[in-house]
């Protein structure tokens, strides 16, 4: 049987951008595709022991972000009514709100709450599911050096750090190589 190999390149370190590579990889692996994720630049934060707990949602520079509150907030008296009014006035959080101290943390906690209420797995859970499904998690050596991350700063169960050449060599060794850039 022809070998199929999927490699996903994760370059972003925000909460929203950590989801797609992990979801796609865990599903592809469960469909029997050999799957790897190459974590480079800010994507390294997804596999960083401490930083993975602090992934945030950026209200600035993210005009597509909708103004939505978790159902539990909307069902709270008064606060819920304010939330409803805000949702009806603003299509998304006004960009200027991003400069308010604590706004990024607030948006992040609202999103985390909503993800949980909607039954979406957490990033930590998805990392475990990826490992269980034999997804290869490959940190990028160059950006590890760039940010001063040591191997012990990163979570357990990773492949040895690799460079661009090693990465391409691995992917292109398959009969059907696929690469997704996130």
């Amino acid at each position: 049987m022809a070998t199929e190999r999927l490699a996903i390149i994760a370059t972003k370190g925000t909460l929203d951008m950590a989801y797609p590579p992990l979801i796609l990889a865990s599903v592809a692996a469960s469909l029997g595709v050999e799957t790897a994720i190459f974590f480079t630049f800010y994507g390294l934060n997804i596999i960083h022991k401490e930083k993975v707990k602090q992934l945030k949602l950026a209200p600035v520079g993210n005009p597509a972000m909708p103004m939505i509150f978790p159902d539990s907030v909307k069902q709270t008296p008064v606060v819920g009514q304010i939330a409803d009014v805000m949702e009806s006035i603003f299509p998304g959080p006004p960009q200027v709100m991003g400069v308010i101290p604590g706004m990024t943390d607030f948006m992040t906690s609202m999103m985390k709450k909503r993800l949980k209420e909607k039954g979406v797995a957490s990033i930590e859970e998805l990392l475990e599911l990826c490992k269980e499904a034999d997804v290869k998690l490959i940190p990028c050596q160059m950006t590890m050096d760039l940010f001063g991350y040591k191997k012990e700063d990163l979570i357990d169960g990773l492949e040895p750090p690799a460079g661009a050449t090693g990465f391409f060599n691995y992917v292109l060794a398959a009969d059907k190589p696929m690469i997704i850039f996130v």
């Binding site: 979801i23 469960s30 469909l31 029997g32 797995a121």
Partner: protein
Amino acid sequence: MAIVTPDKTLDTSGLNCPLPVLKTKRALEELQPGQILEVISTDPGSKADIPAFCQRTGHELVEMVEEGGKYIYYIRKKG
């Protein structure tokens, strides 16, 4: 009503993409070939995802029932 009798039931109610598919895969690993897994889901996306999972992995989707906001699948493990 179920036409087939499941050997095992997996309830993924409340869970969203990709958890129903990942849990289905894991549950099937615990069954013998030919046995039937019943999967209950509330995720509308599962209507497309579970059949795609079966098509790709070779397990047989015997029956698919939609009732009261729940999607119920009967999957026979490939032999």
